[in-house]
């Protein structure tokens, strides 16, 4: 197991460097001036040149990348051009908010996804299956920003039950797990959970159906095992694949959803990314993408390790 984990960690290093290189280059090859956030439209060339030097944009790209990577390895992602604040602090604060949202959405999405998936798989080709599958298809198909707006119109604007925007009565800085705060989380979490719920439902349904049709299930039933015990075997066999799918979905959620966070003004990494793109704040954009990519890579690593721990066949393969 140790060798397996070590090997997986070594594989991660070139992926991380490649991700860093790609995100650095992507934001540099897009048109427009990186200093547009602080440089007024009528700024003189002299002033523009002065600021370009001050922010290091006058240096060759490989030098800029090398310096950026060196500082990033040392935990310094530079300062935001627009605000002057350290990028790492900005990103970590936003990621913290996205994690809060992702956890809430995962709890809803995974629970409902597992529930609908299992009952659809167990009652395949019955009306129960059809209802559960329809919910799953709707979850995957409905544009979630549209769903978010519909939920806001119903529950905030019309019924006035839940807040429409924000991250708590005092902002995310004063977050607490009480109703006064959780009510801000309800609508964005439901909206975020819809896609993972649909995907997990469909995956678990297929897995359950597949496992139930296998010979060992017939053998277990023939041995007179109670259906609850058969069910446990089904879950155990479905777990590694379901876990991988959930891990990926959690990765997507931690990556933040630009649209959902923008609709609900939820101050997470998606909204930060949105703001960095619109302000063309290169250090912030690079830092946010890098941190999110690292999240994704390490989450996949954890899922791989967890899968191997559950199912020894994966480790051997």
């Amino acid at each position: 197991m140790f060798v397996y984990i070590a090997r997986r960690i070594v594989y991660v290093i070139p992926i991380v460097v490649s991700v860093a290189l790609v995100c650095f280059l992507l934001v540099h090859i897009t048109p427009g001036d990186p200093l547009v956030a602080i440089l007024p439209a009528d700024a003189s060339q002299e002033l523009a040149a002065q600021l370009r030097i001050a922010y290091g944009f006058d240096r060759p790209l490989p030098v800029q990348f090398g310096l950026w990577l060196w500082r990033a390895v040392h935990g310094d992602l530079g300062s935001s051009i627009a605000t002057g604040r350290p990028v790492l602090a900005e990103v970590l604060r936003a990621v913290g908010n996205t994690v809060t949202l992702a956890i809430a959405a995962a709890m809803i999405g995974f629970t409902l996804g597992l529930f609908f998936g299992l009952i659809a798989g167990y009652f395949r080709d019955t009306w129960v299956d059809k209802v559960a599958t329809s919910i799953a298809i709707a979850g995957v198909s409905v544009p979630h920003y549209w769903l978010g707006m519909v939920l806001v119109i119903i529950f905030s604007v019309q019924l006035n039950w839940l807040p429409a925007v924000g991250a708590g009565p005092g902002g995310s800085g004063s977050w607490g797990w009480d109703w006064e705060h959780i009510k801000y989380l309800v609508l964005p979490a439901i909206t975020t959970s819809v896609i993972p719920m649909g995907i997990i439902t469909r995956t678990v349904r297929a897995l359950t159906g597949d496992i139930l049709s296998q010979d060992f299930v017939e053998a277990l039933r023939a041995k007179g095992l109670r259906e609850t015990k058969v069910f446990r075997h089904v879950i155990k066999n479905a777990a590694p694949t379901a876990l991988a799918v959930m891990g990926l979905q959690l990765g997507y959620m931690l990556g933040g959803s630009i649209l959902i966070e923008t609709v609900f003004s939820w101050p997470g990494s998606g909204l930060l990314l949105n703001s960095a793109i619109f302000q063309r704040d290169l250090p912030l954009l690079q830092g946010t993408i890098l941190v999110l990519a690292l999240f994704f890579v390490f989450l996949n690593l954890l899922v791989d390790i967890a899968q191997a721990a559950i199912d020894p066949r994966i480790k051997r393969s």
């Binding site: 439209a41 009528d42 003189s44 002057g84 900005e90 800085g173 003004s265 703001s275 619109f278």
Partner: protein, 555 residues
Amino acid sequence: MRIEKPTKSRLATAIMMLTMATAITLPQIARAETVLRIGMTAADIPRTLGQPDQGFEGNRFTGNTMYDGLTGWDLSSATKASIVIPALSTEWKVDDADKKKWTFKLRPGVTFHDGSAFNADAVVWNVEKVLKQDAPQFDASQVGVTASRMPTLVSAKKIDDMTVELTTKEPDSFLPINLTNLFMVSPTKWQAFFDKAEGADAKAKSQAAWAAFAREPAGTGPWKMLKFTPRERLELAKNDSYWNKDRIPKVDKMLLLPMPEANARTAALLSGQVDWIEAPAPDAVKEITARGFKIEKNEQPHVWPWQFSRVEGSPWNDIRVRQAANLCVDREGLKDGLLAGLMVPASGTFEPGHPWRGKPTFQIKYDLPAAQKLMKDAGFGPTKKLSVKIQTSASGSGQMLPLPMNEYLQQALAECYFDVKLDVIEWNTLFTNWRRGVKDASANGSDATNVTYAAMDPFFALVRFLQSSMAPPVSNNWGYINNPKFDELVTKARTTFDPAARDEALAELNAASIDDAAFLYVAHDVGPRALSPKIKGFVQPKSWFVDFSPVSMTP
């Protein structure tokens, strides 16, 4: 269990206690804190360290609130154009012998929020924070948003504690107007942060000091910072000891919330999360007013134009074509239809009633037959259309609804034998290209660019577009306008130091630009905002800014 009937004395005690409790509680209810909650269009809180970012929205929310300049804007009237008035200086005068030197008398008895005194040293220090590169407090990140708004200022010198001398590199009568953009922060507070800061060198310490100052700023304005959560909220408290007693805020607190998405702002207003939103989506206006909210709007010093190319071979070099385009657009139709009333038709950079309007002979209005005649005179007609390409954006600060509005123009101008092609690019790229000018490859063969502009001061409103020396790379004369009359009038306005005569010279310049149909003038934004009916005392001036001080809230 036996319940005893209250005796007379017990009853009396109970009544007394109830009375006392009521007496204690009632004044507290009466003094309940009033909080004004505003949903801004900004994606982040504008910088709080004295020179805000995010254009004039930054000045509106974290500039004019916490800080003052030597001069300020009179925002008390909804009907008159906002003019510059004394703020931290009580009077100013240009030197009769050397028109590059100005003397500013400072307002006595003003203190910063940290209790330190506002004086000539503070003014010099604040000028040097953006102009003197070897000053410890020099901050490159504040230069961009300040220096270009006062392009001729070069230095400040203390004469005595309450007098400073400012020097410009050339005679410039616009200086007092431009100084509204230089906000005075407390040098004492900054120095305390600098002394405590850790860093490899003075520059690093200076940056750390500015970062600390942004978290705990001190200006002289009517509002003091209470709490700041980056990208989420800024809480301001009223400054009870503000130097201008008439402008001490009426509400206790103001909460500023960034909400870049128009639908999110509208939902926040309708669900009672905020009391005030900036720029509601035009299609939400009906719903907002139906629920009893007020829409406030007024003509802003803002122009939504097409800025023409005037390089050799440009189709706009023929004045008949420029005038025809200006006569071919039904601006009232645009206003009442597409923009749900949220615009003012433009007939120039400034409209009648503004001191810089002047008396143009060419009247910009909708006159289709006259436009068609001009085009026919210029050699075009139904069978020979004039092809023009316009660079615009899909969104952007101040751009209103750029694509639908340009498509409206496209259809309108087709009636006058124009064949308009749109080159739609991303807003920041369009903005960057604006500086580069029509001769640059980034113009992509366009004959006009559609970038909106603020018209608060003469330099931003007129000079940077009309003076020939402002062509790229110097400033925003994108189309390389080269009209000796404009140059002459710019010089005249800049060197006329009597305010009334200066305004007259600027009016002459504006009239000349209208007569020349220098731009296709389409619309002025109206700075719409939706307010809860609980808000009283608000005046929406003809400005980018508003005064939050007179705003009160009913329970």
